[in-house]
């Protein structure tokens, strides 16, 4: 990794402050004639060189948060209904499509769970990596190809030179995900959004891809938002964690703090409901019931209907996200404790 690391090094990486600031983001979807927030009042900072994990179950809004940052909220069913996304002094929510297209895949990149559906089956992997470089960097074909090969070597595709002209179907799932990573990194993004990038992979391959991502993050000086439902993966890769439930962040803390002192009842129950490979657990906790539907959210705390610590005041009004020294919890019962 020589040419790629030097080329286009982020010039702004020494300015202070977070690289990305999401402020009161609300992303809504239309259903039955009314707009319902799938992401509600989500705020977080992503520090430079930091990995922030967004963790939660299906439908909690974690992927939609990432798609909002990328400007890829499906229209016209969905829209960003409020809030700001600050990136290098610009509010991404205010940019037009053309301006957003210039940032996407260049300064902010995203990788997805299923690499086969995001790769074009009729183009060679080499071309798909080089494509971002023609488009965003205006490189010549030969230059882009040379750099693409370099990238495929950096993501550790065995005999990359021989496989440069292969098509996606000739790669295994883990190798396709490496190709996706190479495409995402082609323009040396400052922020990488990784949406369940290892969920479809076998555990041994998952461990390799996680190690690769951590290594490249350091080499490229990137910041990463890592979306997952797997608390084991969170523990392995994150610096900080935001736990999401029903469209809201219910708890945010450093990874050590969160696992040591899970404070929101949802976080705590979630941690006690995972069977562990490293120890015997006598009792497995469950969370009764299921996540409320987007069009029938409870008026107070959204977790209240399933919460063992529920009190009358929980159902009266939505609790604020409150706390100190970086550990914030959206729970009126636990916040006072």
């Amino acid at each position: 990794m020589t040419t790629a690391v030097k080329a286009g090094a982020a010039s702004t990486s020494d300015t202070p402050g977070p690289i990305l600031r999401v402020e009161s983001l609300t992303t809504s979807f239309r259903s039955g004639g009314a707009w319902h927030p799938a992401v509600r009042d989500v705020s977080f900072d992503l520090a430079r060189h930091e990995t922030l994990a967004l963790v939660g179950e299906s439908g909690c809004g974690k992927s939609m948060t990432a798609l909002s940052i990328m400007g890829l909220v499906p229209k016209p069913a969905g829209r960003i209904a409020g809030g700001h996304i600050w990136f290098e002094g610009e509010d991404l929510t205010q940019l037009d499509d053309e301006a957003m297209r210039r940032i996407r895949g260049d300064r902010i990149s995203m990788i997805f769970q299923e690499p086969m559906t995001s790769l074009n089956p009729v183009l060679t992997v080499g071309f798909q990596v080089a494509e971002a470089l023609f488009y965003h960097r205006g490189m010549s074909g030969r230059e882009a190809d040379r750099m693409a090969l370099d990238l495929l070597e950096q993501v550790k595709i065995p005999s990359a030179r021989r496989r440069f002209a292969d098509y996606p179907h000739q790669f295994s799932g883990g190798m396709r995900q490496r190709v996706m990573i190479a495409i995402a990194l082609a323009c040396r993004p400052q922020v990488l959004l990784a949406d369940e990038p290892t969920t479809a992979l076998d555990v041994t391959i998952q461990a390799e891809v996680l190690a690769l991502l951590a290594e490249l993050k350091t080499a490229y000086g990137m910041s990463m938002v890592f979306i997952t439902h797997n608390l084991g993966v969170v523990a392995a890769i994150a610096d900080r964690v935001a736990v999401m439930y029903a469209g809201e962040i219910v708890e945010i803390a450093t990874v050590r703090e969160l696992f040591r002192r899970p404070t929101h009842p949802y976080t705590e129950l979630l941690m006690r409901s995972i069977p562990r490979v490293d120890r015997n657990i006598a009792e497995l906790e469950t969370i009764q019931g299921q996540v409320p539907s987007i069009s029938a959210m409870p008026p107070g705390c959204r977790f209240a209907p399933r919460c063992p610590l529920r009190e009358p005041r929980c159902e009266a009004a939505p609790p604020p996200l409150a706390g100190r020294s970086g550990h914030h919890v959206r729970c009126v019962v636990r916040a006072g404790a």
Binding site: G174, A207, L269, I274, P275
Partner: protein
């Protein structure tokens, strides 16, 4: 002494496929290459391994949903593979299967009540009033509301559909349930609900399970003994505590070490030797695992290691533990 409910002996299944474009060639996938294991009555037996290792094929061959090429399956003393049509129908009352995605196995235009009644009608278990009462009892048993019988599959969430899948397997009061990745598609909080339901049924009815999974954490919690598969072969078997505390086969160890642990103080170590999972079409010569094994020796490249019992019901196929 535990009673052996199911004995599988040298079970083999190869598939032939046409692959490649534009010049297709016929290849042989060695899905099951002579695997043997036994399941005790009342026990949850885990079959673990990564995608393509043959674990699902093994589950289906036991039930003859796929006809194996050779080998033996004995259920409570009766030869399953030799059974005629009528005997097989009776055996299938004893052995049922639960799939990963029950939605794919439910008729979208049939109400849940009918889907549950059908197996009982097929097997002639009672008149319509009895079947009706049983449907109601089953819904209650798996934790679904009574009005679920009048609803269609699309009206249910993933966890509820899995409850329907379990209820349908229970309609004929089986003794052995093959559960093929039953919680893999579910969210964590729902996963634990379903695991507790399956565990409850095991305690209440003395059910035995063949529990097929890629998640070692889930298997550690749910199963009493396990077999670890790699490219169509079992590489290690034994009781759960022993296998997890002291895995003998380097592949078992690699699986355990790469499984993420929800504790930031215990960061998972990536496999020391990276490598693709080879294909079951053309498994490596000698020990199939030698291409990824950190302890590979010369003889590993030449001969597949013999199966050795190493005490306390443990067996392993690895030259490190050979004679």
């Amino acid at each position: 002494m535990a009673e052996i409910l199911l004995a599988v002996e040298r079970l083999k299944k190869f598939f032939t496929q046409k692959r490649g474009f534009p010049n297709p060639e016929t290849v042989t996938v060695r899905a099951l290459d002579e695997i043997s294991f036994t399941v005790n009555r009342g026990e949850a037996f885990g079959l673990v391994g990564e995608s393509g290792c043959g674990k699902s094929t093994a589950g289906r061959c036991v039930l003859r949903l796929i006809e194996p090429d050779s080998g033996g399956v004995t259920y409570a003393g009766e030869d399953v593979l030799e059974a005629g049509k009528e005997r097989l129908r009776l055996l299938r009352r004893k052995m049922q299967i639960v799939f990963q995605d029950p939605y794919a196995s439910l008729n979208p235009r049939r109400m849940i009540g009918k889907a549950l009644a059908e197996p009982m009608q097929v097997h002639g278990l009672g008149d319509s009033a009895e079947i009706d009462a049983r449907v109601e009892a089953l819904l209650a048993e798996v934790g679904l509301p009574p009005d679920a019988r009048w609803r269609f599959p699309h009206e249910f969430s993933g966890g509820q559909r899995q409850r329907i899948g379990i209820a349908r397997a229970l309609t004929v009061s089986p003794e052995l349930v093959v559960a093929d990745e039953p919680v893999s598609a579910l969210d964590v909080s729902i996963q634990s609900q379903i695991l507790l339901l399956l565990r409850g049924l095991q305690d209440k009815h003395g059910l035995s399970y063949i529990f097929i999974s890629h998640d070692l954490g889930v298997v550690r919690w749910f199963c009493q003994s396990i077999a670890v598969m790699y490219l169509g072969r079992i590489v290690e078997t034994g009781p759960v505590p022993a296998i997890f505390d002291d895995p003998l086969h380097p592949y078992t160890r690699m699986l355990r070490e790469s499984s993420p642990v929800p504790d930031p103080e215990v960061r998972v170590a990536p496999a020391r030797i990276a490598g693709e999972v080879p294909s079951a079409v053309n498994p490596p010569a000698g020990c199939h695992f030698h291409t990824r094994c950190p302890h590979v020796m010369d003889k590993c490249r030449q001969a597949y290691p013999e199966w050795r019992m190493v005490g306390q019901g443990r067996g392993v196929a690895c030259h490190l533990h050979g004679a």
